[in-house]
Point group: C2
């Protein structure tokens, strides 16, 4: 994974090891009915989505930008104004995340980077990557809720390549499960010791 | 809500007030794209599901019962054996929950009972309602993951009444959102102060 995206450290030595083991993750997959078919459909989605990343981000950023209690998390602590540098820097990594999710390569590097993304939404690491002085944490309730707009608004993009509606259904289902598993992993720093 | 289900206290004075306000909940609905149309489709599902509750529970209990790391949460602390009384008592309340979810009546009583259900999965109240000595807490990761089997296996039941596949899609989507919002609310006791 080599990119020139500032702050994107997937696969690098800077990323700490996930406190969760691959066996723990296997249980989460099992509980979420995530299987080989989902991997196949995620990979199918990659070819469709890879040329539409900017348009997808426009939709997602449009939703966050037009929802004050969400845009809040991109605002400066000092003046409550949205920090456009911060929005722009995160957007680049978010675009890469679309491709990474569609890659569906659930190895140790992937698991480690899920831990890192969780920390970056949490007060432990929020704002550090982009060296900004924004609000200190994103409340977990909204991270969990945002699964819906993200996986719902993806559908028209998945439909663009003329795949059957059955294939589109299965790609969307695989996306729902993958995003769910990721936000589960991201939630760990928020949760009391032993309760995750 | 009057039923004869032991331990089912929805709407009663025994249930504490939710720490979350109706306004907070409105934001969660907004972030999860939950709207009036979802309420309509949940209510539509009620007529279809109300005579299939036992069959639905058979499927859900079948999944939990055949998955050792999930069945674990219904086992006695002393002998690690599944507690059949506990399984049976929870099953009755779970059946009522199907109807309550389909009722889609998001008032203060509903919000309060979401808090209660969260506490009952958490160590704060687990085992107390049925006076059992089972393992003390259900790990949050599996509560979040179980959304998938619950809303996936519902589909054939939603299809039983001959509604159009568009209606079935919308009922299933509304169920996905409602279950997501509920597990979000249930997660609160697990989360560090101020981070929910
Ligand atoms: C399903 C839900 C969500 C997904 C898939 C998601 C995805 C992402 C991704 C991929 C990144 C960049 C990770 C990296 O640094 O490589 C990120 C960072 C960020 N996200 Fe989210 N996000 C979600 C929920 C939210 C919510 C609800 C907010 C609130 C507005 C939010 C605000 C942010 C912010 C402020 C950052 C930058 C954090 C930092 O300072 O490093 N995200 N998100
Ligand atoms: C989407 C996920 C889940 C849903 C919708 C759900 C639903 C419910 C409902 C409706 C109840 C009864 C609430 C009442 O007392 O009125 C309940 C209790 C219970 N559930 Fe869950 N549940 C979920 C996840 C899980 C998981 C992953 C487990 C682990 C096996 C689990 C185990 C239990 C247990 C042991 C109780 C009884 C708690 C007590 O002692 O009062 N649940 N659940």
């Amino acid at each position: 994974m080599t990119t020139n995206i500032p702050g994107y450290t997937y696969g690098s030595a800077e990323v700490a090891k996930s406190p969760l083991s691959m066996d723990d993750f296997a249980n989460i997959k099992h509980a979420a009915l995530f299987g080989d078919e989902d991997v196949r459909y995620l990979k199918m989605s990659r070819d469709i989505l890879k040329d539409q990343v900017e348009q997808i981000l426009d939709v997602w950023y449009g939703f966050v930008g037009s929802t004050p209690f969400l845009l809040h998390y991109f605002t400066n602590k000092s003046d409550n104004q949205p920090n456009t540098d911060y929005l722009g820097a995160v957007r680049k990594r978010f675009g890469q995340w679309i491709l990474d999710t569609a890659n569906a390569n659930y190895d140790q590097d992937w698991l480690n980077y899920q831990y890192e993304i969780g920390l970056r939404h949490h007060s432990i690491k929020k704002n550090k990557t982009d060296n900004v002085d924004a609000v200190p944490i994103i409340n977990l309730r909204y991270i969990l809720a945002l699964q819906v707009p993200i996986t719902t608004t993806l559908r028209p993009f998945l439909e663009k390549d003329g795949h059957s509606s059955e294939d589109v259904d299965k790609m969307q289902d695989a996306w729902r499960k993958s995003v769910l598993m990721q936000v589960i992993l991201w939630s760990q720093p928020y949760i009391h010791e032993g309760q995750f």
